[in-house]
Amino acid sequence: MHNDSTKKINTLFTNYKYGFRTETKSSFIIPKGLSEKIVRQISKIKEEPKWMTDYRVKAYKEFVKRPLPDFGPSLKEIDFDDMHYYIRPQDKTKNKWEDVPSEIKETFDRLGIPEHEKKSLSGTGAQFESEMIYHSIKESLSKKGVIFDSIDSGLKNHPEIFKEYFGTIVPYNDNKFSALNSAVWSGGSFIYIPKNTYVELPLQAYFRINTESMGQFERTLIIADEGSFLHYIEGCTAPIYSKDSLHAAVVEIIVKKNAHVQYTTVQNWSTNVYNLVTKRAYAYENAEMIWLDCNVGSKITMKYPSIYLLGDNAKGEIKSLAMAKDHQCQDTGGKIIHAAKNTTSKIIAKSISKDHGNASYRGLLKATKSARGTFNYSKCDALILNKDARSDTIPKISIDDPTASIAHEASIFKIDDSQLFYLMSRGLPQDTAVSEIVNGFASPIVSELPMEYAIELKRLLEIETE
């Protein structure tokens, strides 16, 4: 049965259905390669203030200086000279789908984005190549002072808030790819939720790379003021090309006193995309931050969403699901820093790997001396579907708080013959039994996703029965 079930498992991951590309006429393309001149050119096109141009140049110098990460998968194959660092698809951001150029709109129609917006969202942003081509929020929310805009508009229209927070959570010199992003960032969301404002339905942004050898460097800044509530969702896809693309995003989130932010990601890049992302949130007194991070696509992903619990009684949660097939590598995990009293956190990480895929967990859990009464629970489960697949769990724990209560569990699973026999004895064919077991394993994370994404993710796990 074992060999047979291996064959069935091979059909488990369905074909990538977002691999199509759209013929578009971009309004502006900067030639391949990166230099200080190109960095200055991007800033000039965007008509930015001098402080931002200087910031970009400083970050570029840092990027050149910094070596590649000394941990995780090898990134030596990335050819930084063979990338486009800026492509503008149209002249400016639209706030009606009708105004978006038809060939770009068609892409998002095929991805179901406008339809989804009507049904269940408070607002939608869509990025194509380097720019947000669409941004829209419900009028009732903008009247309450909620800002949901492209990050470029954020800099133009809300310079005070922007300057106060930009680059304070993830400094340009945090790592090589935060430096790269800080040098050439373009697109992404700028969100401000006023005090005690409850945004009931999620805000969503959708990212699409369309051109070959494209680098996408969106930057998102979210400020949730005291007592506010927000759920933000991002999704992403790209066509399949023989040459690699690069996605290096930075996300900064400030969760003020008593506020609640959930940031949900369903990452489904095509398997020629390097996805190297820095995501970090500061949570203040009694605030709550949740990262729900699902990684299915990309060639290599390195991403460790972080939460700094800086105020007393702050809560943090990181829930993640990673799937690696063929020669994909999902090097994901999370970091939680307890730096205040009675802060609590939870990490639930699940990974599924098959063939030569590698889905690993890399985590850091830290409690400083000023943290008292820290509580953390971490659980890492890896499901390995065949013998060539790989999963490592690398948790780093550093505790200076003598009153801390920390629990870490890690387990490795495989589908065993007794589970298959049990389900088959009830009447399920073998391939259905395999996909039911995989879905069951993933369900604690998948069930937390909004409906459309949960269905989509389940589909990705299901066997095509025909």
Binding site: R426, G427, N439, F441, P444
Partner: protein, 267 residues
């Protein structure tokens, strides 16, 4: 179309030899069943008793189609409406679809996959009776109530975190939902207290599903005669060293209870 009810369905086992991998020597296969004959007709209950290692669980696993149990000789057949179907080369799911069901001695945990989802998937695959989700839920809840299990069990992972007794009851629950024609109960009584045992027995004999319309053939494998007080078998068979060494009526179980297997072996 009218069918003659005289043609009852039955499970027919002839000269069954079953081998499994030897735990001590992986290259060798060890023969556990050495020529077993048995016929169980619709509406009949047969109890198979025997000491540890006599081959009771091997028999049921081989009947259900566990891939580790290799049938080296003999046949397993079912006869329905005068037609004979050989099961030897069929997979477990194919046997299940022909009406076989096994209640496991040690039910297997499938984390995250709920009973509701599994049973719904199976019913949808069968596609014979169109049943809405509401109707299915109604049926599931009714049966759980009869087994005295909280209906929250439906949403929980299969056998995940249930007590030993609950797991056994949930096997009977699945049996009643799937309505099999040939039922294999592998030590359904082990790990049950007397109250749970009564509930399980009542549910196996539940007239709501077991009557004129539906009258399955049942094989009960057990160590103890205890359960046979609640479910009266038509026949009792003693299994020893891979063969049935004695068959008789329910009185045989009582003798066994009093004097043990050794005495019967020596006869």
């Amino acid at each position: 179309m009218t069918t003659k009810s005289s043609k009852k369905s039955s499970l027919i086992i002839k000269n069954l030899h079953v081998k499994i991998e030897d735990q001590t020597n992986r290259k060798e296969k060890k023969e556990i069943l050495k020529g077993l004959d048995l016929e169980v007709k619709e509406g009949e209950i047969h109890a198979i008793m025997g000491p540890n290692g006599s081959g009771k669980s091997t028999l049921l696993n081989a009947l259900m189609g566990h891939p580790k149990y290799e049938i080296s000789d003999g046949t397993i057949q079912i006869e329905t409406d005068g037609k004979i179907k050989k099961l030897n080369d069929l997979k477990a799911d194919e046997r299940a679809n022909l009406g076989l069901f096994m209640a496991f001695q040690h039910p297997i945990e499938i984390p995250g996959l709920s009973f509701l989802h599994m049973l719904r998937t199976i019913k949808n695959l069968k596609n014979t009776e169109k049943q809405s989700l509401e109707e299915l839920l109604e049926e599931l809840k009714t049966e759980l109530k009869k087994l005295k299990i909280d209906e929250k069990a439906l949403e929980r992972g299969i056998n995940e975190g249930f007590s030993g007794g609950e797991k056994k009851k949930l096997e009977i629950f699945q049996m009643k939902i799937l309505k099999p024609k040939f039922i294999l109960l592998d030590e359904i009584d082990s790990g049950l207290d007397i109250d749970s045992l009564k509930i399980v027995a009542e549910n196996i004999k539940d007239p709501a599903w077991w009557g004129k319309k539906h009258s399955p053939a049942i094989i009960i494998v057990t160590h103890y005669a205890r359960i046979l007080k609640f479910i009266k078998p038509h026949k009792v068979h003693i299994l020893s060293h891979g063969k049935i060494i004695k068959s008789g009526g329910k009185a045989l179980a009582q003798i066994l209870e009093k004097s043990g297997y050794t005495e019967i072996n020596e006869e």
